[in-house]
């Protein structure tokens, strides 16, 4: 079977800010996510995680390389994917409810049924009764949850999530993680989940991909997470196998994190 998403030798080169020269963020990245697979991508800040996700979403055309969705080359926007952005992405002029209904509205769904569905989704992300608030009247974590509902209401087969829960407190975060796992296990969506948090990556995923520090980022390690499912994200962290995996992956990552930090600093100061 063809993988749900496959990046083949993807390279992205940006023009440098100063106007001269180029910056190769990611180079020759091969990454395949099988149908129904939950893959987390971890890597030092600025290495090119969001860039890869934009490529998979069809928002960014790679400088070279190919993107295939269920075996078909991707042209334009990836219509099968839902994308939860790292930065603020809600429409500030729409209330939370209207933001959640937006996708259905674009698809021409009737207002009343869209509204009913959106109310259900707001409840699922713990925001029942916040529907008439505008984004600026919500906390950062609440806005993230609205974004989650906004994406999930369209029931995409592929979920692209860019650090979706990093703005949440630990408790809410674990609630949302469990909710996501439950949803995912119900109809096995394919997920690319980006995070800074290795524990989160391990507790959610089937596979964790570690990226090297930039420039010319590429995957430097792939770890199959053979923890049993269904999982509870807070309980699984206490199991010996989890700790073992965590140690192994962290060991591989540590050097890259330090390298990434030093490079980002040099680029900004130099």
């Amino acid at each position: 079977m063809d993988p749900a998403v496959s990046l083949e030798k993807v390279t992205c080169t940006f023009a440098a800010k100063s106007g001269e020269g180029h910056y190769t963020a990611v180079k020759d990245v091969d990454l395949a996510i099988a149908g129904g697979e939950f893959v987390s991508v971890v890597g030092p800040t600025g290495c090119g995680k969001s860039t890869l996700l934009n490529v998979a979403a069809g928002l960014l055309r790679p400088s070279s390389g190919a993107v295939k969705i269920h075996g078909e080359p991707l042209a334009g926007i990836n219509r099968r994917a839902g994308y939860m952005f790292q930065a603020e992405s809600l429409m500030p002029w729409r209330s939370a409810l209207a933001n959640v209904t937006a996708g259905l509205e674009f698809r021409g769904e009737e207002a009343a049924s869209a509204r009913a569905k959106a109310e259900g989704w707001l409840e699922r992300v713990g925001l029942a009764g916040f529907g008439d608030r505008y984004p600026h009247q919500l906390s950062g974590g609440m806005r993230k949850r609205v974004s989650l509902a906004q994406m999930l209401i369209l029931d995409p087969q592929i979920l692209l999530m860019d650090e979706p829960f990093s703005a949440l407190d630990v408790q809410t975060r674990q609630l949302m993680e469990n909710e996501l796992l439950e949803l995912w296990s119900a109809d096995r969506k394919s997920v690319i989940f980006i995070t800074h948090d290795l524990e989160e990556a391990i507790s959610l995923s089937d596979r964790v991909v570690v990226l090297s520090a930039g420039p010319a980022t590429r995957p430097i390690g792939e770890y199959v997470i053979d923890l049993p499912r269904p999982r509870d994200v807070s309980e699984i962290r206490l199991t010996p196998r989890f700790i073992e995996l965590h140690d192994r992956i962290w060991h591989a990552m540590k050097g890259e994190v330090l390298k990434g930090y030093a490079q980002t600093r040099n680029r900004t100061s130099g």
């Binding site: 928002l59 839902g82 952005f85 429409m91 209330s95 600026h136």
Partner: protein
């Protein structure tokens, strides 16, 4: 605190009128600047007489048709100028080629002092309200246009990408992302553009018309009736303040989604 401020503001106003009265009333002060005691009143008017003019205007109802005409011109200039600015701003914001092509012309048109167009508009549209509306439109248009253009350029790319991922077509992006974003910029320039529409109306009337508050001022000036000139100015000022209040109220209702700095409910 707020009431105290009101009190002092009212007192300041009274003081200004008081000073004005004392300085201009003939024979009240010994002549210092002019040897003729009526000179000061001739140049600067007398507040008491000015108030009499205003009272007569409102009591006889003579002022209402003039105010109504000025209001109509202001409103029409504002609406037409804003719609044109919105449409053309959106269009140029979204078509880089057209905007590059027209850029120098737009800059030139904006730099030109548009009041000089008033006589041309009078030839084209006659002495009725439309020549004033046209003048107001040229003033309002550029304010709205530049704001909308800016607004289109500064739509958050993430919001745009998000809407795209949610399945918005190009038309839907225009309708649901660019337009709301651009409109919010129009509203942020609402005070300026309403003010400009008003300026266009009054200046147009002043330069040639048979009605409107600007016309009243112009007529009084022709007759060296300085008190009526000041009365007209005062009525215009109050009128502009009322307009400004109305705009603030409209703004508050239309831009509920906008974050306001330090917005909390005071505890009662």
């Amino acid at each position: 605190m707020k009431r105290r401020l009101w009190f002092w503001q009212a007192l300041l106003l009274a003081a200004i009128f008081g000073l004005w009265h004392v300085a201009t009333a003939p024979d009240l002060l010994p002549p210092i600047v002019w040897d003729n005691p009526d000179r000061a009143a001739f140049f600067f008017g007398e507040p008491l007489k000015m108030f009499v003019v205003i009272r007569d205007w409102f009591v006889s109802g003579e002022i209402y048709p003039h105010l109504w005409v000025t209001l109509q011109e202001t409103a029409l200039a504002f609406v037409i100028g804003s719609l044109l600015g919105l449409a053309i701003g959106l269009w140029l914001g979204l078509t880089p080629f057209a905007s590059m092509l027209l850029d120098p012309y737009i800059k030139a048109a904006n730099a030109m002092p548009r009041v000089v167009l008033a006589p041309i508009f009078m030839v084209w549209f006659g002495l009725g309200i439309w020549s004033k509306v046209a003048l107001g439109v040229t003033l309002v248009f550029f304010i709205v246009f530049f704001n909308v253009y800016q607004g289109v350029k500064e739509v958050s790319p993430v919001v745009l990408s998000n809407a795209t991922m949610l399945g918005a077509s190009r038309r839907q992006l225009l309708r649901h992302v660019y337009l709301p974003s651009a409109t919010s910029w129009v509203f942020s320039s609402l005070h300026t553009s309403v003010g400009m529409a008003f300026v266009g109306a009054v200046v147009g009337e002043y330069l040639g018309s048979a009605r409107g508050v600007g016309y009243l001022i112009h007529m009084a000036e022709g007759a060296f009736d300085i008190n009526t000139v000041f009365a007209g100015i005062l009525v215009l000022t109050v009128f502009a303040l009322v307009l400004d209040f109305a705009v603030s109220a409209a703004e508050k209702r239309l831009l509920v989604w906008r974050p306001v700095q330090g917005e909390t409910e005071p505890q009662l």
